[in-house]
């Protein structure tokens, strides 16, 4: 996993609540056995006018001009502004894989679905929870001004708007540490091999049927 670096990037607004992971990456693309290449199919059903299938040349497909992420002003966006309960539904990690592949490194919303929220951190994406009022304000500012960018500083846990306003955000200290350092948490867990073995020995006496 790459280290999370401070970024100063274009913001794209996706003004819908309850965006589910089926919408972020439709099921036909889950047949892949790889982790990469999902970007062109992020939001496939909203993004294109035809029906997408794996193996199509996406550059030749008719694009939906009304879908907000297709507007030229949001090209190259790395911050996605979203509404409540973003990432609900299926646990498919293909959703953060697709968003990352599409270029998004930060997602800001008033709330996230639990599994998606967790999956983001495992892939170097920073999901930020802000109050509904603050998210409303960012939607208004983003839509009002073309080229609207935010500076996202994970170390300082602060977002800076073009007007210089600083918005603080919370992040779990362990997850912050892993993101800042690009750490693989399997390696971290394996530092506790002795604890895991000790637990198993104790548990096998208490509940032997779990080890039969």
């Amino acid at each position: 996993m790459d280290r999370f670096e401070k970024l100063d990037a274009i913001v794209a607004p996706l003004d819908r609540a309850n965006v589910d992971t089926d919408a972020i990456i439709p099921k036909q693309f889950l047949k892949s056995i790889k982790r990469s290449g999902f970007g062109p199919n992020a939001f496939d059903e909203w993004r294109y006018l035809d029906h997408g299938e794996p193996g199509m040349d996406n550059s030749q497909r008719p694009v939906n001009p009304d879908f907000v992420l297709n507007l030229p002003r949001y090209a190259g966006a790395e911050v996605l502004l979203a509404r409540d309960n973003f990432g609900c539904g299926s646990s498919r990690e293909h959703a953060p894989w697709a968003l990352l592949d599409q270029g998004f490194k930060v997602i800001i919303a008033p709330s996230f679905a639990d599994i998606f929220f967790n999956n983001c951190f495992k892939n170097g994406i920073l999901p930020i929870v802000l109050s509904a009022e603050k998210v409303d304000q960012l939607f208004r500012e983003t839509e009002a001004s073309e080229g609207y960018q935010l500076i996202v500083d994970l170390e300082a846990q602060a977002i800076t708007t073009p007007s210089g306003e600083t918005i603080a955000f919370d992040v779990d200290s362990f997850r912050k540490h892993c993101l800042m350092n690009g750490l693989d948490d399997i390696g971290l867990t394996l530092q506790h091999v002795d604890d895991i073995k000790a637990y198993e020995e104790k548990r096998a006496i208490e509940a032997p049927w779990l080890f039969a």
């Binding site: 003004d15 309850n18 047949k31 990690e93 639990d114 867990t189 506790h192 895991i196 509940a207 049927w209």
Partner: protein
């Protein structure tokens, strides 16, 4: 100190805790299917790691398998991309020597149906799977939730998950439900009340007399959809029905170990006076058969009512979402639910494909014929063993005589990864769990209902109150 069921399950699985509350949680059972595991096995291989406890894994292909012609095995999967994924699972479990129910094994089926059926998921266990509907297994006092592929790899490599404890939420459904009202209606009513984000950050315990009155299968239906209320984990306390359900199952403990297990399981309930961060009450008697009208499971109403009007909603983001849902679903506000006609009917999925569901649907269609406007009615049992039992009871003949297709087990039209899908703008009465845009096929229109309600819609050609027939 009085503890909740979730507190007890959590406490008994913590390997170590950090000061900030992050814990290493030990995982007893890891269910694996073909869609969310290939990248995890690949990651293991690339890092030169071995699975920590191969015997904790039970694997089966379910999402991609066709529901016809399974006798052809993997080679019979026409879609080459899907076939590669099933072949990859096959190769991975063989390489590492894990318990596997492949296509054509009578024990194969939807991972959340076969786990309990085999006794491979048990009370008191921690259960994970790279699938959000893992919450199903909480129905018998287990701590069960879905995980992403990175966590699948983490559990394979370490037998643990890094977790922070969730909040405790109690949803108590009190009183008795009326005739024709099922577990599916109860859980849809709960989601309608608390919303799809209502359980975010929480583990939900479902309690109250109406939950206690449900069979274990009905409790699985309720816990299955905890994730649709935003909660990764749903659970129900262990009682005598739970113990009876597991007795004699292939992977369940035997002899003295069974007795010891039963004794341990008897503590799997919330203590009197245990603290819940949030408590929600529903009156069982007021719950009617439910039908979703929109593109989120919280967009649900009683069958006797009408499609709601966005103009009545004060929250502008919500009203916008409702209007978008109506446009997508091709519905007008104010339409009586029973005036909505359907094109296809799907009885199946990890929510409603167990023997009890098949019986409930068969009871409704027995001796009748599906309506002329129904293009396809599918009955898809959740496992090879459910299929076998249903056939022994003659349910397959009842379905076929009524004009249904009786299929082979798999996830099927719940998420339409195989050929079972809706064409654009087709409308389906479905016993599955998600009515999201595109879920059952591009531009598909899904209405979530109980098996009896889906069966009744197949016969009438439109939604109908199952209590009236």
């Amino acid at each position: 100190m009085a503890r909740t069921l979730y507190d007890k399950l959590w406490d008994s699985h913590v390997v170590r805790s950090e000061k900030d509350g992050t814990a290493l949680l030990y995982i007893d059972r890891h269910l694996v299917h073909e869609v969310t595991s290939p990248q995890a096995f690949e990651g293991l291989r690339l890092a030169g790691r071995q699975p920590w406890r191969k015997d904790s894994v039970v694997a089966t292909p379910d999402h991609n398998v066709p529901t016809t012609g399974q006798s052809g095995g993997i080679a019979g999967i026409a879609d080459s991309v899907a076939r590669t994924q099933v072949e990859t699972l096959d190769a991975n479990v063989k390489e590492f020597g894990m318990t596997y129910f492949p296509m054509n094994d009578v024990r194969q089926g939807i991972v959340h149906v076969i786990g309990p059926e085999q006794g491979a998921t048990l009370p008191g266990m921690t259960v994970v799977c790279g699938d959000s509907h893992t919450s199903t297994h909480g129905a018998f006092g287990a701590l069960a939730h879905g995980i992403g592929t990175s966590e699948v790899e983490h559990v394979l490599a370490t037998q643990c998950l890094l977790q922070k404890k969730m909040k405790n939420m109690l949803v108590s459904v009190d009183g008795e439900v009326g005739a024709g009202v099922t577990a599916k209606d109860i859980v849809l009513a709960i989601i309608g009340k608390i919303g799809t984000a209502g359980g975010n950050g929480s583990a939900i315990e479902f309690g109250g007399t109406a939950i206690q009155a449900l069979s274990i299968e009905g409790r699985m239906t309720v816990c299955n959809m905890a994730i649709e209320a935003g909660a990764r984990a749903g659970m129900v306390a262990v009682d005598a029905k739970t113990i009876d359900y597991f007795k004699g199952r292939p992977f369940a403990p035997k002899g003295a170990q069974w007795d010891a297990a039963v004794e341990a399981w008897s503590d799997l309930h919330s203590d009197e006076g245990a603290h819940f961060d949030e408590v929600v009450h529903l009156d069982a008697a007021s719950i009617e058969p439910q039908v979703t009208w929109g593109t989120s499971p919280e967009m649900v109403v009683a069958v006797s009512t009408r499609v709601p009007n966005p103009a009545d909603e004060t929250d502008s983001v919500k009203a916008g979402g409702m209007q978008r849902a109506l446009d997508y679903m091709g519905l007008k506000a104010g339409t009586p639910i029973t005036d909505i006609s359907v094109d296809k009917v799907f009885i199946g999925s990890c929510t409603n494909s167990r023997i009890e569901d098949m019986r409930a649907a068969a009871t409704v269609v027995k001796g009748k014929r599906v309506a002329d406007n129904i293009k396809l009615a599918l009955a898809v049992p959740g496992s090879g063993l459910v299929k076998k039992q249903a056939e022994e009871e003659g349910l397959d003949r009842i379905f076929v005589e009524a004009g249904f297709e009786w299929r082979e087990p798999g996830c099927s039209m719940c998420l339409a990864m195989n050929d079972d899908r809706l064409e654009p703008e087709e409308r389906c009465a479905s016993t599955s769990n998600r009515n999201f845009e595109g879920r059952q096929g591009q531009a598909s229109r899904t209405h979530l209902v109980s098996p009896a309600m889906a069966a009744a819609a197949a016969i009438a050609g439109h939604f109908v109150d199952v209590r009236s027939i």
